[in-house]
Subunit: 191 residues, 2 copies
């Protein structure tokens, strides 16, 4: 009869993002218990946090969970980098059309100077990994969030970051171990 559907406030959402930045994804109970966030999120459960984070990240990446599933079906698993550049260009094209103010960290590079744009994004990614305060390194979503928060990245640009992240793994600049990224010291590392 009533409407038991508690919409997330922007304050709660901010707290959740900060929590993920601090503790990483998958640490929902930890985030909830952190005195920095517990009061803001007191009406949420760990499962709520997990669901909301899924919603946030999947929306930013694909637009919706349904589209995400379809996209993942079209790209069953690998092909991680074959079309990365294509994806990137599509992202840039979309971004150029939709983004009103170019994010400051990017505006230093001319919109069509792909090389410059790439290196700018790459630097942000490396910075995100370097500044991550946990031993295992951040996962992809934490990197995206870092770039978004620190460099005012527009949501439309997330595909670009994702693509460059894959590229940096493929060229060996960084390594990906169990869905977490770290800067590669020498050639390659085995898990």
């Amino acid at each position: 009869m009533g409407a038991p559907k508690q919409k997330w406030t922007s304050q709660e959402e901010t707290a959740l993002k900060a929590g993920v930045l601090k503790h990483g994804t998958g640490k929902w109970r930890t985030i909830l218990s952190d005195p920095e966030f517990t009061s803001i999120l007191k009406s949420r459960s760990n499962v709520d946090l997990k669901d909301k984070w899924r919603n946030i990240s999947v929306t930013a990446m694909y637009g919706s969970r349904k589209k995400a599933k379809l996209a993942l079906k079209r790209t069953p698993s690998s092909h991680d980098d074959d079309n990365a550049t294509a994806l990137t260009i599509v992202a840039i094209a979309n971004g150029a059309q939709h983004i009103s103010p170019l994010p400051p960290a990017l505006s230093c590079a001319p919109p069509r100077d792909f090389e410059g744009l790439f290196s700018s994004v790459d630097k942000m990614i490396l910075e995100a990994i370097a500044n991550f305060n946990r031993h295992l390194g951040p996962d992809g979503k934490s990197i995206l969030l870092y770039v978004e928060e620190r460099h005012n990245m527009q949501p439309d640009m997330k595909r670009l970051v994702t693509s460059r992240l894959k590229h940096l793994v493929n060229v060996g600049t960084i390594v990906k171990i169990k869905h977490r990224y770290r800067i590669c010291r020498n050639g390659a590392e085995q898990s």
Copy 2:
């Protein structure tokens, strides 16, 4: 292109109502899986059931979804019972204007004998709860449906039932727990 707009047959609608009576509202997939209804409703999805039920109940209560929204805006949230009597009288007034044949269960009470009318409706509500064959008790819409089906209540009178339901909760005759109603045995129950 893809949707020739499949109108609901009265048979389907009957099955849906029976399903809600049996399983309660919000159990669309359960209703769909019930062997008693699955063949009749085989061309409908759980979402279709939900949407149709919204049309049925909201139409009965307010006339249309648009009017429902306006009505709910006027009564933002609580005030659940302050104006219950007022609403009731409005409903009766509307009913007196629009209802052609007074429902049998009500016609025993003179149209303006509010006390008699109330106790008659109250009895129907208690009967609905008593006869509900699930432990948690029916929700508001199931009660409305029960009264409509068993006592030939006209749709225009639903507001009256709703108001009396709220009243019975407020005076402690029945308790409302998680949007479901049950008859109160002693004083109060805690969840």
